[in-house]
């Protein structure tokens, strides 16, 4: 399963990847440090799931999600953000994302999202 993690913090990129690796055996990771690089990576990799931070330089996470969904309406996007505002969660959820998770990405959240990705992959 190809997973693209787009976050300007290398610390958060690695935290997400290491926790997912613990719960999902066949994960193959790709990383991008901002929205612009993330979109280029998306087009070249065509990941099964894309993890997107919201607050990033160049292109914000919100803009990036819109661009990815215009490019691929079936894109499966998981937001991992420090933003705890209800209004932001509601707005971003309207973009048709799979899940909105608050940072820090912990073991419980990793397990939840890995089970969901595994079930989805088995159902296909």
């Amino acid at each position: 399963m190809k997973l693209l993690i787009i976050d300007d913090s290398v610390f958060s990129q690695r935290m997400v990847a290491s926790l997912i690796k613990k719960h999902l055996e066949n994960a193959e990771f790709y990383f991008a440090k901002d929205g612009e690089e993330g979109f280029l990576q998306y087009k070249s990799i065509k990941p099964d799931y894309t993890f997107v931070d919201l607050l990033m330089p160049t292109i914000s996470g919100g803009e990036l999600i819109k661009m990815i969904r215009e490019y691929d309406s079936n894109a499966k996007i998981i937001v991992v953000s420090a933003d705890v505002q209800k209004s932001v969660k509601d707005e971003i959820s309207d973009y048709g994302i799979v899940a909105f998770l608050n940072k820090p990405f912990n073991d419980e959240r990793a397990k939840y999202i890995c089970n969901m990705m595994r079930d989805d992959s088995n159902a296909r």
Binding site: V10, F11, M56, Q85, K103
Partner: protein
């Protein structure tokens, strides 16, 4: 008869709740129990020429400081800064990356990875702190990308005062991580309009207390 509730009481309690949530988040990141004191909140007017911002910082916050910040706009305009003595940050960074060696706990040669960690942790804590208050007072905020920098306490005044912000909300916090105390402060710079917006929302909350 109930005592009259001041705006500062409400503000202190709001920050108390959101700092508690931030501590819980921090505890998840470093996998250690964190004890926090109840923050004191002060509203400082920067237009007052007699105001010395450093005087409001506890003496324990001295020397070289590490500051993690995010700016916000939309209904409120300001900048939130999380401030800690830089010499305490090595232990904290080591905890974040699960590095147990404490031999270099006062090492102040920070790498790009160290800055990345402090920037991200500051981002998570400040988002939690400001975002929860925004949720509670029903005020929407739009953030800019976080930043981290190091400078001396004596330069803090220039950095904080050389802006369009007229007021400061100062919070003192003490993190007790694994038996060692780290004294810090949160300085939130605000425009006068933004401070008034917060205070007016607090007044609405207070009115509801008496219903």
């Amino acid at each position: 008869m109930l005592d009259k509730i001041s705006r500062e009481d409400v503000l202190k309690e709001l920050f108390n709740i959101s700092v508690g949530k931030s501590a819980s988040i921090l505890s998840e990141i470093i996998n250690k129990k964190i004890l926090l004191n109840v923050p004191n909140v002060k509203i400082i007017d920067l237009k007052d020429k007699e105001t010395s911002l450093e005087a409001y910082l506890p003496e324990v916050i001295d020397g070289t400081l590490m500051i993690s910040s995010i700016s916000f706009k939309e209904k409120l305009t300001g900048k939130a800064n999380l401030i800690f003595p830089a010499d305490k940050m090595r232990k904290f960074i080591n905890l974040c990356i699960n590095e147990s060696s404490m031999d270099n706990k006062n090492d102040m040669n920070f790498t790009d990875i160290d800055f990345d960690i402090i920037k991200e942790v500051g981002n998570i804590i400040l988002n939690s702190l400001i975002g929860e208050i925004g949720n509670y007072l029903d005020i929407k905020l739009q953030y800019t990308v976080p930043e981290v920098k190091i400078f001396h306490k004596k330069d803090l005044k220039n950095d904080i005062k050389n802006t369009e912000y007229t007021n400061v909300l100062m919070l003192y916090i003490t993190f007790n991580i694994d038996g060692s105390e780290i004294f810090g402060a949160i300085i939130i710079n605000l425009t006068l309009n933004s401070l008034n917006e917060i205070l007016s929302k607090i007044d609405i909350l207070k009115e509801n207390f008496y219903v």
